[in-house]
């Protein structure tokens, strides 16, 4: 039988199946099990959550393959893992471990300031961060099968995720209504592949699934991002840096499903204990901002 693996359809299709779900950062098998029991649609396996990476400083790299393997063995839901921007060997390693999605992530220290990974060369699908439509379409052009906002990871401040989601979705709306003769100029302006600009103009949406990430910490944050128009959410430090991770994880899952139902969002938000200690993005020195990594 002819089985075609690693096609665009199975890469993008897998992301379609994650929609309406919550992808949670976990650093141990125990946390992965808590995430799965709470209803996470996938986990992101990493050694340190972004809040700790931010606090520790230094160079942040791909996690220990042994630790990623342990997490893969501890749950039945999909497991994602992060490689550094442009570090295609870390991506090769993650693919060989059998991770289900690679996040080429600005949360880790970039390995290449000019070039992202050529994601078409891989069987495993990739998700990449973006701040605007041009960046989203550049990543899709390189083969990303899923897009997420960059937000500002490890802060518990949702403001950047909101900014990036509004930017992408607003630019899509403008592009959709643009006369066709303006598309080439627009493609030059936002530095995006022309064929993808045409595709978004014609369909009125991105060719791949678009999640929110970076700074989400509460059920209401997740519902806010869903109402703004993303397809699902990543929650990094927000769960396991809070007072009661299991309850918070479950509440964020339920708020993401019932994002249009304020009574349910209110009910699940009750008595969750302390949220992660936040840090306002505007207080962070520019040199420490993660969202500015990559282009």
């Amino acid at each position: 039988m002819d089985k075609n693996k690693g096609t665009i359809t199975v890469k993008r299709g897998f992301a379609e199946m994650l929609k309406g779900g919550v992808i949670m950062d976990v650093v141990t098998p125990d946390q992965a099990v808590i995430a799965e029991k709470s209803g996470a649609c996938a986990v992101m396996a990493l050694e340190r959550v972004p809040a700790d990476i931010r606090a520790d400083g230094g160079v942040a790299r791909m996690s220990d393959p042994g630790m990623i393997k342990e997490i893969i063995q501890s749950v039945t839901i999909p497991v994602m893992a992060k490689c550094r921007i442009g570090h295609f060997v870390e991506a090769q390693v993650l693919q060989s471990l059998g991770v289900d999605y690679v996040d080429e992530s600005e949360v880790l220290t970039p390995a290449d300031e000019e070039h992202h990974v050529d994601k078409h060369q891989f069987t495993v699908p990739f998700v990449c961060g973006c701040r605007n439509l041009g960046e989203a379409l550049r990543r899709v052009g390189e083969g990303a099968a899923m897009i997420r906002t960059k937000g500002e990871a490890g802060t518990g401040d949702v403001v950047e995720a909101v900014r990036h989601a509004r930017s992408v979705l607003g630019e899509i709306r403008r592009l959709r209504d643009m006369p066709s003769e303006e598309l080439m100029s627009y493609s030059k302006e936002i530095r995006a592949p022309y064929d993808l600009v045409v595709s978004v103009h014609e369909t009125g949406c991105l060719p791949v699934v678009n999640f929110a990430a970076g700074g989400l910490a509460t059920p209401a944050d997740a519902a806010l991002m869903m109402q703004i128009g993303v397809d699902g959410v990543f929650v990094g430090s927000g769960i396991f840096k809070s007072g009661d991770p299991a309850s918070r994880a479950k509440a964020i899952v339920e708020a993401t499903t019932h994002y249009n139902n304020p009574e349910i969002v209110a009910k699940v938000s009750e008595g969750l204990g302390e949220p992660m200690v936040g840090r306002q993005v505007k207080d962070i020195p520019v040199a420490e901002l993660m969202a500015d990594r990559g282009w």
Binding site: K5, G13, M17, K19, C41, A42, I77, D100, T257
Partner: protein, 201 residues
């Protein structure tokens, strides 16, 4: 015709779009009272553990079982197929409505997800399905994503699709339909047409 798609998590939007394109009214089903006036229900692909937990938490198990018990068509794709079947080797909420035993992620992880032709008894060309078209073997574009595997099907289950290796990938038992692949990710709407044609007269 009032079709519903269980919209707790996963690929529900594609089903809604296709069913509407085929002329059905279609709504998202998230809570028990969303079943009022519904004629048929799709349980979409997604993460089966997530869908199962949310279905339990929000009181949807009984409404779905009752709905299927009233002989109304219910179709599960991928995770939805797991939800309607008897699950082997995993402890998570499933409905055991159709006489099929199924195993999760049995073709491997995402790097093993694949596209392959499904040999189907559905008519060859897309068009309005009628029962007279049955038996005409055609080919359907199968998209298998971390797909489950049918390990056993009872005698009252009709096979509607197989891989060329013989494995069952689409089946029906009375008003229940399962596909372990994703017709909603293709432009071929024959399974959706077939499903809408399953309505009792």
């Amino acid at each position: 015709m009032e079709a519903g798609v269980l919209a707790l998590q996963g690929g529900f939007r594609e089903h809604v779009t296709i069913l509407r394109r085929l002329g059905a009214n279609c709504r998202e089903v998230k809570l028990p009272n969303d079943f009022d006036g519904l004629d048929c229900l799709v349980v979409p692909g997604g993460e089966s553990t997530t869908i199962g937990k949310l279905a339990v938490e929000y009181g949807l198990i009984e409404p779905i079982v009752d709905f299927a018990g009233q002989n109304r068509p219910v179709w599960g794709t991928c995770a939805g197929a797991i939800f309607l079947s008897k699950l082997r080797g995993f402890n998570q909420p499933v409905l055991r409505l159709i006489d099929i035993e199924i195993k999760r992620n049995a073709f491997g992880r995402q790097v093993d997800s694949f596209e392959a032709e499904v040999m189907t008894t559905l008519p060859r060309t897309s068009g309005t399905w009628s029962s007279s078209g049955g038996g005409d073997t055609g080919v359907f574009p199968g998209v298998f994503i971390r797909a489950p595997r049918v390990v056993e099907a009872g005698p009252s289950v009709d096979v509607l699709g197989r891989l060329s290796t013989g494995e069952i990938v689409a089946a029906r038992q009375k008003n229940l339909l399962v596909t372990v692949f994703h017709p909603e990710l293709t432009d071929d709407h024959r399974f959706h047409e077939y499903f809408l044609g399953m309505m009792p007269d």
